[in-house]
């Protein structure tokens, strides 16, 4: 599969590359210069539609690891309008699958904070009005609408907290955490899962490896076959 990875210089990007580079052909992109001896690289500003159209050409799938959390203009440029440009270019280029990534609160914003447990990723999205969550949530809504209207699958992976796989420190017991390398593997699984295993053309997954169950990862385990190498449940053991 020819895969275009956006935001490869993000924290998540290198782990996606590491997980996907065996067996797939990668084109790596970021808004900053990308260094790679092994893969095709390019510089892409997701808010520039011409950049995106040129870079998506000839690809089978797109992975979006881009993020902007704080700048009030760039957050919408990247997280919202960037998703529009990515989806428009992907549809026009005949791309069949997009893997979008984002924070858990792109779906489960503050109005869900007081819910007890078993929050699934298919809840009605309510990111709230925080800049990061809202701009990502709007981007996800654009992805959903494109998938509902065109022959393209969008699989969105939601994350919350990451830790290094060899970090065994107790106390960092976050209720929605995954190791970086398992996060990269989740992206690969989302790229490779057969379309007939998906209920719709837009599916969202909670990606974590903890037993807390405030946020359910059952769908991720069942549909994607996610089997994390790093069980972070140790952080919860006495």
């Amino acid at each position: 599969m020819k895969i275009f990875v956006l935001g490869v210089n993000s924290r998540l990007g290198p782990h996606v590359v590491r997980s996907c580079e065996e067996g797939h052909s990668l084109r790596l992109a970021d808004v900053t210069d990308v260094a790679s001896d092994r893969h095709e690289t390019c510089r892409v500003d997701l808010s520039n539609p011409d950049d995106v159209i040129a870079a998506v050409e000839g690809m089978d799938a797109v992975v979006n690891c881009t993020v902007e959390r704080q700048d009030p203009r760039r957050a919408f440029d990247v997280n919202t309008r960037g998703c529009f440009n990515m989806m428009r270019a992907s549809v026009d280029a005949g791309v069949k699958r997009v893997i979008n990534t984002g924070p858990h609160f792109a779906i489960a914003g503050p109005s869900y904070e007081t819910f007890d447990y078993a929050m699934v990723p298919d809840m009605p999205p309510h990111p709230g009005v925080g800049l990061y969550a809202h701009s990502k949530g709007a981007g996800q809504e654009i992805c959903r609408i494109f998938a509902s209207q065109h022959d393209i699958h969008v699989l969105t992976l939601l994350f919350y907290n990451f830790r290094d796989h060899d970090d065994t420190e107790r106390g960092n017991n976050h209720p929605f955490a995954v190791s970086w390398r398992d996060a990269g593997d989740a992206v690969r699984l989302a790229l490779e899962v057969e379309a007939d295993r998906l209920y719709s053309r837009c599916e969202v997954f909670n990606v974590h490896a903890v037993p807390h169950a405030v946020f359910s990862n059952e769908k991720t385990l069942r549909v994607l076959g996610f089997n994390p190498r790093d069980d972070l449940g140790f952080a919860w053991r006495k």
Binding site: P49, R73, F76, F84, M87, S135, I145, F146
Partner: protein, 215 residues
């Protein structure tokens, strides 16, 4: 009541400035590409200018009709529309919350249901089914933004989804909506009684936003 009307240089904006101006103190604004005369230019960025624009206002009528010149200046119309209906709308509402504005009326479109079978009796309870055509998608993005502010109880939002609407019906609907803010988020479908009205407007009629009921 002091009312801010956005996109005041647009056709709908001009109608509302004139129609509401008899009963209310109206502040007309538009993006720099559309402003002129008595229309205050504001880019709706996350800055002091937007904050000053909404200060002291009781309600906002967000017409949300991007000036052609502003769209051209952006390079691509579709990107300009996404930016305006997401970022600019977000900045407007964020500033409004900060200044204690109570109520926003967002003008959306019944084009969100254009793909529905005309035989279906579509009401406000239906989920919009927008196409990815930017003239429809932009309203889905704008509604999404407004709804989050309303659902978080940051500000009250009335969403008026309009089809073909004559001048008097438009003014009456907005005028009445201004006088009865919702508890958080309320949607009304509005379409004048022309040839073959397609959508059920009985909710708007029941709330007094419309003179008549179903044809």
């Amino acid at each position: 009541m002091k009312i801010l009307i956005t996109s005041s240089a647009s056709e709908v904006g001009r109608i509302l400035v004139e129609g509401l101006g008899e009963a209310h103190q109206v502040v007309a604004t538009d993006l720099p590409g559309g402003a002129g005369g008595d229309v205050v230019a504001c880019s709706l960025d996350a800055d002091d200018a937007t904050q000053a624009l909404v200060a002291g206002v009781d309600a906002i009528v967000h017409v949300a009709d991007l000036p052609v010149t502003a769209a051209e200046a952006f390079g691509r119309v579709d990107n300009a529309q996404v930016d305006f209906h997401s970022r600019c709308t977000y900045n407007l509402l964020k500033a409004a919350v900060g200044e204690g504005v109570e109520h926003v009326i967002y003008l959306s479109s019944l084009a969100l249901f254009a793909s529905c079978d005309p035989a279906w009796d579509v009401t406000e309870r239906w989920a919009p089914q927008p196409s990815t055509d930017i003239d429809t998608l932009k309203h889905a993005i704008g509604e999404f933004t407004c709804r989050e502010f309303a659902r978080e109880r940051q500000i009250k939002v009335t969403c008026l989804r309009t089809g073909e609407l004559n001048r008097d019906d438009l003014i009456r609907a907005v005028f009445k909506a201004l006088s009865s803010p919702p508890s958080e988020w309320e949607v009304y479908h509005l379409e004048s009684d022309g040839d073959g009205r397609r959508f059920d407007i009985s909710k708007a009629a029941g709330a007094g936003l419309f003179n008549g009921g179903r044809p």
